[in-house]
Symmetry: C2
Subunit: 260 residues, 2 copies
């Protein structure tokens, strides 16, 4: 399996603190040693890093946990390979174009018979994850054509498609177009929003804490999403199986659960 | 057009100094403002960064010009878009799998009728560059099948394929599998090898110099390849049109020119 981490904020924000905690799980406090990657959006421009080395040992990962690069939305992934060898091509997040934007995606879980997901475009690597991503976006395009729907309609459709994928196994997902962060929970996904009054946060995996009061403004709203809570002195909200939570600028704008 | 920079060394080496010079050309001292990227290989593992923002303004690029990440081979590219919009998918270097390895490639130039290059796999972006890369690797696979040839045979074939591409326009290329760096010149490509006795080098584009004597060991051999010389006090070797120079561990192991 793997671990996911996402961030959505109303002001450009770095993910150093959270990534410092996540990175250790990539081969040290956790078994997710088969590569890591991140996508960061600022003003709708996305840049990305992919490294098939363990994040606990990678000098690039150390750098990204200490150097403050600020973004509006981030998607980060540390991998424990099950389907597909350890390689750059199999390192999340994956990226594809749709509706004139670059979509970024990372997946935690495993899908049975993912080869049955019909996709038109080529899958670059050999993971079920990337195939599911291509399938998702192609389903969206088949449904909505060239015109992007509003975020409510899109969220409903994404929820329904993610439910279909969940029937094939485990499908925890982070997906973004740079404005909106879609988070779907199949088994494990937690989130918390930090806003004034800010407090000290302490990482679980490494002796590091930060006083967010000192590094934020009063109006900052920053949400962190993670497979497992990254801090041990804050209240993380556990998502339900089959729940899609949608964030913009750090705030929840949609939450869709399975009605069954 | 774009600018290329490559590095091959016999000891893990960072590219901070050279990239500090190149980065400025991405929108400040040069017009190549449409994104930048780099691939770095160490012990055959490759990690990569892609950023569609101008390297002269990107905080990630600033970081990469100051933080010492050491590698054996690097390929870096700053882009001035001609074919294909500014996007992550069109940001070099590109990566594909062949013979169980990840190949990385960056291109400077423009090819006419690149849509006539028949490729089996999907091209992710919309550049002639990526299409030419896919074509190149597929030609290699068609020629050699599943068994990788020795580097001499491979170099001969690559030279012949690159000559074909050069007939379509301008094709300056850097290509690597992590062990070998293949550099093909169509119009502009320069290189220099630094080895003991080391000296001070001064960048052309920004007031920065470095005394390599202080940061190297006596046995270090480091070759830098660049579209245009990055320093103004060193002797760069200009490649010929139609020349392929092949480096391993900082040393030239093949040099093939057009016989015509």
């Amino acid at each position: 399996m793997c671990e996911l981490m996402g961030m959505s904020a109303n002001v450009p924000t770095d993910i150093c603190f959270s990534f410092a905690g996540l990175r250790i799980r990539g081969g040290a406090t956790g078994p997710h040693k088969d590569g890591w990657g991140m996508a960061m959006y600022r003003e709708n421009s996305v840049w990305s890093l992919h490294d098939p080395r363990p994040s606990s040992e990678s000098d690039l990962a150390v750098l990204m946990s200490t150097a403050s690069l600020k973004c509006d939305i981030a998607i980060t992934h540390i991998r424990q390979a099950n389907v597909g060898e350890v390689s750059l091509a199999n390192t999340h997040p994956f990226h594809r174009q749709l509706w004139g934007k670059t979509w970024s995606y990372a997946h935690n879980g495993q899908l049975s018979n993912s080869e049955n997901l019909t996709v038109q475009q080529s899958v670059m690597g050999t993971t079920d994850s990337e195939r599911a991503f291509c399938w998702l976006l192609e389903q969206l395009k088949d449904t909505f054509g060239e015109k992007e729907p509003n975020v409510n309609t899109l969220s409903q459709k994404l929820h329904s498609l993610a439910n279909e994928l969940r029937e094939k196994g485990v499908f925890n997902m982070l997906l973004s177009d740079g404005q909106t962060l879609f988070c779907y929970c199949s088994t494990h996904l937690h989130w918390l929003t930090r806003r004034a009054p800010f407090n000290v946060a302490k990482l679980k995996d490494t002796p590091l804490d930060i006083d967010f009061e000192k590094v934020t403004s009063e109006t900052d709203v920053v949400t962190i999403i993670a497979t497992q809570p990254l801090t041990d002195n804050e209240k993380w909200q556990q998502m339900e199986a089959g729940e899609l939570v949608v964030f913009q600028a750090g705030e929840v704008i949609e939450s869709i659960t399975c009605t069954e």
